[in-house]
C-alpha cells in the first residue's frame, strides 16, 4: 500500500510539474502546482507509513504502554498538516497575484509577462 | 591684397579677441641700411679677395638665359675652378644672375630673392634683354632696364651670350669685387625709395612688405 501511495505521490508531482511547465495560463499553473503539492503530501504520508500499524491516536484501542510498537510515527503526519497549511497559504498568494495581474494587465498568459529579462 | 594677408580678428584660446595684421605681424618691416666695411683696410682686402674667390650663385633661372648657366657646371666649362658654385637658397648666395628677359611677374620674385640675399651681393644682367629689353623692347609684361629695379654690377651682352661669355663675365666681376667696387647692396639701401618706386610702378599687385628680410 505504502508503495502505491509513494508511486502515486511521485506521479502526481510529475504531473503537476509537467502541467506547470507546459501551460502558460497562470491559473492552470496554479492548479498544476496544487496537484504537485498534493503529490508531495502523499509522498510525505507514504514515507511515514509503517505497515500493519494503526493511527497514532492514544485511546482505548491503543494502550499508552504499547503505543511505541503499535502506532505509526505521528511526525510525518504532523508535517503533512503543516505543509498543507503552508501550501494553502502559498496558493492563496499565487491566486492573489493572478487576480492583480489580471486586473492590471488584462491577461493571464505568463509568457506575456516578460518585460523584465536579460 | 590676398585674403590671407588681410587684417583679421582672431580669438585666443582663453576667448580673448584681438587683431592680426599679417603684413605687420609676420614680416619684419625695417628698411635696409648701408653697411660699410667694419674692419681695418687690410682685413677688408682679405675679405674682398675671399669674396672674389668664393662666388656663390643663386640657383634661380629667371629667363631663357638660364639655359646658359647649366653648362658652366659641366666638365667642359667647370666654373668651380674659379671658386664658383650654385646655392639653392638666397641666404647663402652672393651673386644673382638675371638670365635674360625678366617678366613683371618674375620681377616680384627676383626682388624678394635679391632682398633675402646678404650684403655684399652682386647682380649680373645676362643678355641684351636686361639692358634695354632686347627683342622684347615693346612687350607689355617684361621690364626693359634691369638697372631701374636692382643695382646691376655687370652686364653681359648678347642674345644669348655663350657660356664662355658668362664665364668671362664672372672673371670680370671678380675683378670688380676685388677692387672693392661691387657695392650694389649699399647702393640699393641708399636709393631704396627710388628703387621701390620703380618696382611698384610696374608691379601692381604689391603684396609684400617693402623690404623682404
Amino acid at each position: 500500500m505504502a508503495y502505491i501511495a509513494l508511486a502515486t505521490g511521485f506521479l502526481l508531482i510529475l504531473i503537476g510539474l509537467y502541467g506547470a511547465l507546459t501551460h502558460s495560463h497562470i491559473l492552470r499553473m496554479i492548479v498544476a502546482f496544487t496537484v504537485a503539492n498534493t503529490g508531495v503530501n502523499l509522498v510525505l504520508v507514504g514515507v511515514g507509513y509503517m505497515g500493519g500499524r494503526t493511527a497514532p491516536i492514544l485511546d482505548k484501542a491503543v494502550e499508552v504502554s504499547a503505543a511505541a510498537q503499535r502506532i505509526i510515527d505521528p511526525l510525518p503526519q504532523a508535517l503533512v498538516l503543516t505543509a498543507i497549511v503552508i501550501g494553502l497559504g502559498v496558493t492563496a498568494l499565487m491566486l492573489t497575484y493572478a487576480y492583480r495581474l489580471y486586473v492590471t494587465r488584462g491577461t493571464l498568459d505568463i509568457s506575456r509577462y516578460t518585460e523584465l529579462k536579460w | 591684397m590676398k585674403p590671407e594677408l588681410e587684417k583679421r580678428i582672431v580669438k585666443g584660446p582663453d576667448g580673448f579677441e584681438f587683431e592680426v595684421d599679417p603684413i605687420r605681424d609676420y614680416f619684419c618691416e625695417t628698411p635696409p641700411t648701408v653697411m660699410t666695411a667694419a674692419y681695418s683696410a687690410i682685413i677688408e682686402k682679405l675679405f674682398n679677395w675671399a669674396r672674389a674667390e668664393s662666388i656663390w650663385i643663386l640657383g634661380f633661372g629667371t629667363g631663357c638665359g638660364a639655359i646658359e648657366m647649366r653648362p658652366l657646371m659641366t666638365p667642359r666649362f667647370d666654373a668651380y675652378r674659379y671658386g664658383v658654385q650654385w646655392r639653392p637658397t638666397p641666404r647663402q648666395s652672393n651673386l644673382f644672375i638675371i638670365s635674360g628677359y625678366l617678366s613683371v611677374k618674375t620681377l616680384k620674385r627676383v626682388i624678394r630673392s635679391y632682398e633675402q640675399m646678404q650684403n655684399p651681393k652682386y647682380v649680373v644682367g645676362l643678355g641684351s634683354c636686361t639692358i634695354n629689353g632686347g627683342m622684347y623692347w615693346d612687350s607689355y609684361n617684361t621690364i626693359k632696364r634691369l638697372d631701374d629695379y636692382l643695382p646691376v654690377d655687370l652686364y653681359i651682352a648678347g642674345c644669348m651670350p655663350r657660356p664662355e661669355a658668362l664665364l668671362a663675365g664672372i672673371v670680370e666681376l671678380k675683378k670688380i669685387i676685388r677692387a672693392g667696387k661691387a657695392e650694389g647692396a649699399n647702393i640699393y639701401a641708399e636709393k631704396f625709395e627710388w628703387y621701390k618706386a620703380n618696382q611698384k610702378r610696374v608691379i601692381h599687385d604689391w603684396d609684400m612688405p617693402d623690404y623682404n628680410w
Binding site: I86, I110, Y113, K117 | E4, P13, F27, T30
Partner: protein
Amino acid sequence: MVSALSFIALPLGTAFTLGLLPQGMQRVNYLLTLLALALLSLIAASWLLAFAAGEIATQQIFTAGTTPPFSINLQIGMAEAAGLLLLNLTGLLSVIYLRDTLHQQGARAMAVLLIFIMALSGIVLTRDLFNLFVFIELTTIATGGLILLSHDKRALGAGFKYLVATQIISITLLIGTIFLYHDSGTLNIDGMAAGGLITGESLALFLVLIALILELKPFPANGWALDIYESAHPAFSAILSAAAATAALFAVDRLLLVGSNSWLPLATAVGVVSFVGANLLALVQRNDRRILGYSSIAQMGLLLVVVGQRDILGESYLFIAGGILLAHAIAKAGLFWLSGIIVARDLSDWRALQRNPLYIFAFATFIAMLVGLPPFPGFYAKWDLVHLLAAHDRIALLLALLFASLLEALFLFRWFGYVIKGEANPEGIICARNKLGVIAAATVAAWGVAYLWGEMALQGNLLYSIPLLAALAFLLLEWLAVPYKNVLAISVLLGWFVVNYADYNPLQLIFAVIILVGGPLILLSSFYARGRRIGFYPATMLMFAGMAQLIVAKSSFDFFAAWEILTIGSYYLILRGKASEPHAISYIIFSLGGAFLMLTGFALAAAGDLNFLLSNLSEVAPAVAPWVFLLLAIGFMTKTAAIGVHIWLPGAHAEAESDVSPMLSGILLKAGLFGLMVLMLEMGRQSLYGVDLTHVMLWIGALSALLGNLMAAFQEDAKRLLAYSSIAQLGYALFGLALMNHLGWLLALMFVINHFIYKSMLFLSVGGVAKRTGTRLMYRMGGLITLMPLSFIAVLIGIIAVSGVPPLSGFGGRWIFYNAIMTAEYRLPLIIIFLAGPIAFLYLFRLIHTIFLGQLKDEHRQLREAPFWMILPQMIFVACLMVFALVPGLALKRVDHYLLQYFPEGGLSWDGLTITSHFGYWSPISIMVIVGVIFMTLFAWLLFVNRRAQKVKQFNIVFAAERPFRPETTHFAWNFFAPYRKALGFLTEPLVTRFWDAIGEALHSLAELLRRFYNGNGQTYSVHLLAFVVITFLLARGVS
C-alpha cells in the same frame, strides 16, 4: 540575556498587535514596528557583545520542554548573533527608509515586514530541518507580499515568477526532508550529522541541499531573482540581498554538516560558477538594480565557495566568511538604498550623485567594499582565503575567483567612472532625510566593520597606519580652499619624510626622497588651482600614503595593502581628468589584475603563512619559486607599464590633469620598480622550464624601450608622447634590473631618479603649455619660444637630459648602461635596446620643435607664460638636474655601496672628480666645464662677428622666391616622421591593444549571448531550476 526566542516571539507578537490595532493609526503602527526592530537589534547586539567578550558559550534553546529529536531546538552562537544583528539592523534601517511607503501601505505591510524579519531570524536560529522549511516558506510568502511595496508595475509579474520558482524549491525541499527523516529518524540537523546514518551519497540530502542552495539564487538558475531585484522596492531589495541571502547562507552552512563534508565540492562548484557567471553577465548590464542583483548573486557564489572550502579554512572560516558576508551585506544594502534616491534607472543616471561629495564618498565606500579593497573586511578575508587556497594547492579555484573578482571590479569601477564623469541631471535625485540617514548609517557601518576586521586580523589593523589616516583626514578637510590644503599636504609629506628619514636604507631613501620630497615639489604646481578642488587631495594623499607604506613594508600583507591603497588613490587621481574615464577603467583593471597576480604569487610563496615576511621570499620552496617570481614580476610590470600591459598608461597620463600627470609618471610608476627590486633582491635569478626569467625580463625591458620610443615618435598629442616615452624609460630601468649585476641596478636607480626629474618637469611644462593653448595636439602649437621662454628652457634641459647627451645627467645613465652591459650574459636583447636609443631623439626633437619652434599660430600670438606655480617647480627641477648632472655621487654613492652587499662585483670608484668603473671613466664636472668653456668661447666669437644681426619675424624665410601662405600651412609638424613610419611603422601596429580589446570584446559578447538565456518567461525559469537540479546532481555523481 534575553532569550533567543524573542527573535521569533517579539516580531510575531508585534505583527499580531499591528493587526489588532484599529485602522488609521499609521503613526503608532510605524513607531511600534520601529520599536520592535530596534529592540531586536539591541538584543542581538547584546548577544553579540556577550559572545565577543567571551562571557557565554554557544547556547541551545529547547522548546516544548523536551530535547531533540522530540522537539525543535534553536542554537545561538557568535555567528548567529552576528547574523541576527545584521538581519534586524537591515530590517530596522529599511523600515526607516521605507517610512513614507509604509505609512501609505498601512499596518499590514509593516506586519509582513516583521514576519519576514522573524522568518529570516528563524532560519538563522533553527536547527530543525522541518522548522527550517517552515521559515523558508514564511519568507517566501512574506516576500510575495513585500514585492508589492514597489511602485513598479512590472514587480507583479516578477513576484509571480518568484512564487513559481519557490514552489519548485519547496517541493524539492519537502521531499528531501521527508526522506532524510526516513533515513535518520530525526529532523534535528545536528542529530543527523551526529547520527552518521546519512551518507554523502544520499539523494535526499542532495535534494535538501540543492533546495537551500537554490534559495541563494545561484547562477544560472536565477532569472526570477534578478527580475525581483530589478523591479522591487530598493529597500526591500536591500533586505533581500543583505538579509535573506545571509539567512539562506546560514542554512546551507548548517546542512553541509550532514554527510561529513562530502557535499562541500558541490557548494564550491556551484559557488564558483555563480561567482564567475554572474560577474560576467553583469558586464553588459545598464540597469542599476539589475546589476546590483547580479552582484548579489556573485557575492553569494563567493560565499558559497568559502562555505565549500571550510574544510581547509580552519579557524579563519568565520573570519573570512564573515568578512565577505558583511562587506557584501553592507555595501549591497547601501547601494540599493542609494538606488532608491536616484530617479532614473540607467547607470549613468547616478551622475546625480555629483550634487554632493558625500554621496560620492558613500558610493565610493560601497564600491571599494564590494571589490574588497583595503581597509574593508573583504580585503582581509580575500587575503586569508587566497592564502589558504594556495596552501592547499587549489590553484584553479583561486584563479577562477580572482578572474571573477576582476570582472566584478571592471563593472563596478566602470560604473563609478560613469558617475564621476559627465553632466549630471540636477533633477535626478530625490533626497529625504530619513533615506539619507540610512545611507549614512550604512557608510558609517562600513567603516566600523573595516575597523573591526582590522582589529581581528592577524596582520594588524590597516586603519592604524598613520599615512592612511592622514590621507583619510583630508576627506574631513575638503571644505578648505586649495592653498590651505596644499600647504597642509606638502607639510604632511615632508614631515613624514623628516620623521622617518633615519630609518630608510639607501635604496628606500632614494624612493622616499622621490615620493616624499619629489611629491611636494610637484604639488607646488597645484597652487595654481582655484576653489576647493574636491576629491583631489584625499586621492593624492591616498596614493602617497600607499607609496610611503610600500617602501617600508616588511610583510607581504603590508606590501600588498600599500599597493592596493596607492592603486586606489592613483585611480581616483586619473579619473579626475576631463576625458579620462575609459583610461581610468583600463588603469584600474590592469592594476587590479596585476595585483591579483601578485596576491597569488604571495599566497604561493607563503604556503599558508598568513603573515609572510618579504625577507622570506628568498626561502620559498624551489618548486614554486619560479612561479612566485613570475606572478609577482608580472604584477609589478603592470605598474611599470612594460610592453604588453602598457595600454593603460598613455591615455591615463595624457588625460590626467596638468599636475597629476607628473605625479603619475614621475612617482607612481616607480612603485612597480620598487617592487621588482625587492623581488629580485630576495629571489635572485629564477628559471622556469629552463628559461631564465631574468632573460625574459631583459627582452621585455628592451622591447618596451624600443616600442615605447617608436610609438612616442608617432604621437601627435604632446602628453601621449611623454607617456609613451615613460614606457620606454621604464623599459630601460627594467632592463637594468634584469641585467642582475651591480651596475645594472645602479643604472635602474639612476633611471629612477633621472626619470622622475625630467619626466615630471616635461609633464609640467607641457601641461602648462596645454593649459595656455587649450590643446595638447602639437601641430596646433608652434613658435611659442618667445612667449613661453621658461617653459622652453625646462623642455630644452629636459630633452637634453632624456636623450643622454652630455653634459647633463642623462649621459650618466648611458655611461652606466654601457658599463653594465659589458658583463651582461645575454647580448641579443641589447641589439633592441641599441636600436631604441637614437629613436628617443626623434620624439624629443619633435616635442620641442613642434611646440616651441617653427611657426607661431594666429590665435596664440597673445599667450602668456605658464602660471607661476607651474613654472616654479620646473625651475627647481632644472636646478636639480644640473646638480645631479654635476655630482651624481650625491645620490648614487651610497646606493652603490649599499648594492655591494647584494652584488659584490663591479662597484664604481668615486675618488675625486672622476667616476671609475672596471672598464671606463667619467668625470661629470670636467665634462660640464669643458663643454661650457668651448660653448661660451664660440658663442662669444659668434656674438662678435655677428653683432649686427637683424631680428626678423616668422615669415621672413626664403620660400623659393614666394612667401608662405599661412602659419598653419608652413609649420611642418603633423606626421612629422612620415618616412620613418613608412620604414618602421609596422612595428607600431597596435597588436597589444587589439589583443586586449579582443579579450574585452569576447567577454562582452559572451555575456551578451549568455544573458539571452534569461528570456523573462517564468516557465523558462522553472525549466532552468529543474535542469539545474538534475545537471548538478548528474555532475556531482559523475565526479564523486
